[in-house]
Symmetry: C2
Subunit: 419 residues, 2 copies
């Protein structure tokens, strides 16, 4: 393929390391100026392509781009916007092609989770369906760790580390106060459908009795009497109990423990507030004084405590995406391939987008302890390397100095479009 421009966009919930993938894409593209001209980043994801709001990353200094490696959240803006199928919404795809053609874009890099890989897959079909030649590569990202065909998902390792570190720290706090004060601490973490994040809290426990003592996973139907009995037994034995609950914790019939009622753009139920629900249950049934925390965005934005492994992998999939595109691959996503557990070795591979799109990787049953309240040695073996290593951002005046981009939009060439 002759020299052409590239489009990169961030999609869905952001992470502590999605910008490291952007850094990998842009820095690698800059090393191949003979093949890739400009890299445009969509302002607010794919919406930026539809609106012809293309951030010209060429206007950013090498230093600013390098700073993306240690900057959390989506530096170009992300979006929750799912393209429908080509048959249902031909208009949007025609618009994409108009914008791509107007700006000579022949490379499409889409950085996101399951829904986003579905979008990437649909765009890849444009080549044949609408006769526009484009190389389309997905770049994996999700704190939920639920993409198939990759050993893990960039973004997950850092939230896993945050949750494990926070559980250890808060656990020490409760342990020191429990004799005369709080006996039960509940930490709510993300994970709508899969308990990967809650499971990672289990890494905090290295010796018998260490917190967390109870993990409530979406994979295990919540059983109120069994749960309360476990909490009571733990407090009787240790004097306190640390509970980590996934926002997706649910009853046997699939009802979420805390269902806030609303729906997001994808029709997913809005969750939140299972921690106070659980804490109140413990208080009213067992009478223990409690505290609870809801980490929410803090956990996925916590670049200050990112996993070095995760940062490296996020960068690597960005770099690999460009390399795959230049190697003539299309409709694929770079993956993380685990070569061995200890010492941990990994490399990048690739998976076809059609096999990635809309497939959700569940946590294997063998990762969940028999009583359903903890993780197994297999889970630890899988999870431990993903949180390994620290990769601190630079600080000034006591605060991390994250990238501030200029975000200069390329001049528009087309009439406006109603998204």
């Amino acid at each position: 393929m002759a020299k052409a421009n590239a489009f990169y966009a961030q999609s869905g919930g952001v992470t502590a390391v999605i910008n490291a993938s952007a850094c990998g894409v842009i820095e690698t593209a800059r090393q191949h100026k003979d093949r890739i001209g400009k890299v445009f980043a969509g302002r607010n994801g794919i919406v930026g392509a539809l609106n012809e709001e293309l951030i010209d990353t060429g206007k950013e200094s090498a230093r600013a781009i390098a700073a993306l490696r240690y900057t959390p959240a989506g530096a170009f803006g992300s979006c929750r916007y799912k393209l429908k199928g080509i048959e249902e919404n031909r208009r949007e795809y025609e618009r994409l092609i108009d914008v791509f053609r107007a700006h000579d874009i022949r490379y499409f890099f889409y950085n996101g989770g399951g829904d986003s890989q579905d979008t990437a897959h649909k765009v890849s079909q444009l080549a044949t369906a609408m006769d526009y030649p484009i190389t389309c590569i997905g770049v994996p990202k999700t704190v939920d760790n639920d993409l198939p065909l990759t050993d893990c998902c960039p973004g997950f390792g850092s939230v896993a580390k945050y949750v494990a570190v926070s559980t250890r720290e808060a656990g020490l706090d409760v342990a020191s106060m429990c004799d005369t004060s709080t006996k039960v601490f509940v930490l709510e973490v993300m994970g709508r459908h899969a308990g990967w994040i809650a499971a990672a809290a289990g890494l905090a426990a290295e010796e018998p009795g260490d917190p967390p003592h109870v993990i409530l996973l979406p994979e295990v139907a919540f059983d109120r009497p069994r749960f309360l009995a476990k909490v009571k037994a733990t407090v009787d034995k240790l004097g306190y109990c640390v509970i980590v609950v996934s926002e997706g914790a649910q009853y046997a019939d699939g009802t979420f423990l805390a269902d806030a009622g609303g729906k997001d753009a994808f029709g997913h139920t809005q969750l939140g507030g299972v921690a106070p629900f659980i804490a109140d249950m413990v208080k009213s049934e067992l009478g223990y004084k409690y505290h609870w925390a809801v980490a929410d965005y803090l956990q996925r934005a916590a670049r200050h405590i990112a996993s070095a492994t995760d940062v490296e992998q996020a960068y690597a999939v960005g770099r690999a995406a460009v390399e795959l595109a230049l190697a003539g691959r299309n409709a694929v996503m770079p993956t993380i391939v685990r070569q061995r557990d200890q010492p941990y070795r990994w490399t990048t591979g690739e998976a076809p987008l059609k096999k990635v799109a809309n497939v959700e990787k569940k946590m294997p049953k063998r990762f969940i302890s028999k009583d359903g309240f903890g993780i197994t040695p297999s889970a630890r073996q899988y999870l431990a390397p993903l949180i390994a290593g620290e990769d601190y951002p630079p600080y000034r005046n006591g605060l991390p100095q994250y990238a501030r981009l200029k975000r200069v939009l390329a001049p528009k060439k087309l009439p406006p479009f109603e998204v």
Copy 2:
């Protein structure tokens, strides 16, 4: 005074750096073996003295004691237990003296906040009231930063740093999603009576438009229409709004927002938390999609992101406490004395316990911006040095390696006592 043993105890809510003070006390005492014999630490604070549960810190290695410098929470156990006045509860004081006499304890170091300094002050009165010679030194500690006569309180700088860093990170997250998703983020932080911690979030904003955009302080009566107007104006201008709310935020009549009996969309009473209360108010009045977080113990246990200044000061007051005792001072508390703002210079001083006990330092009015939703340059000048510097704990397998003490109890010499 001839050689005698020392008693050290941790009291009240723990912090990321109270063990650094313990480290300062014990390491300094070990340098003066001619004057101070054993250092006993109360198991669970003063309760440990009443129960004659005295942890013999001499059984801990130099390495374990050094590790306290980077270990959060209360390594010896803390307590919420306030001694009454000597007249009201002579029995407890007599017991304390029995225990002190049995273990030749003539130095008393009590590490805590306002209530604890009151306890320390009462114990100091034993010398004259009950004819038992004891040197009594308070060691300041509180995330609430509300002790008088000291420029700041060890423990506050680290929670301030955690809150400022988290606000910056979560702010970037919301900013990247706001076009198509969450527009308002609410972070609830500690501070029941004073807004010091919420105010510290303001440090995250270094340029106009930076989050946080609204800080709700207990010092400023909550005005619903003005608050909602401010949130709307912020979203209109920036596309999103980050709100940091103190758990102590209150109406003009002193009612806490969190206790206001809010109801959720289903008419259920809110299970606690001013953050969900505020978020729900914003949603129902302005219609914005929201997220909220409650940091709770995570903020005060977050040793992984402690302020280096705070760690140094926590250690320094521990060291100074022993030095004051050895210099023959009694019924005093070492303080932090600010010598200059920029470059920040500080040293330790001392204050009499009778002037510290039960006095609460409020945040000055000049620290609060005119509209009541932010902090002033004076506040920034005061707060900024307190979060300066990073002091990372050592990590293994991706997790901070905090001290694990043996906590060997000294053999009991007295009959049991009913606390």
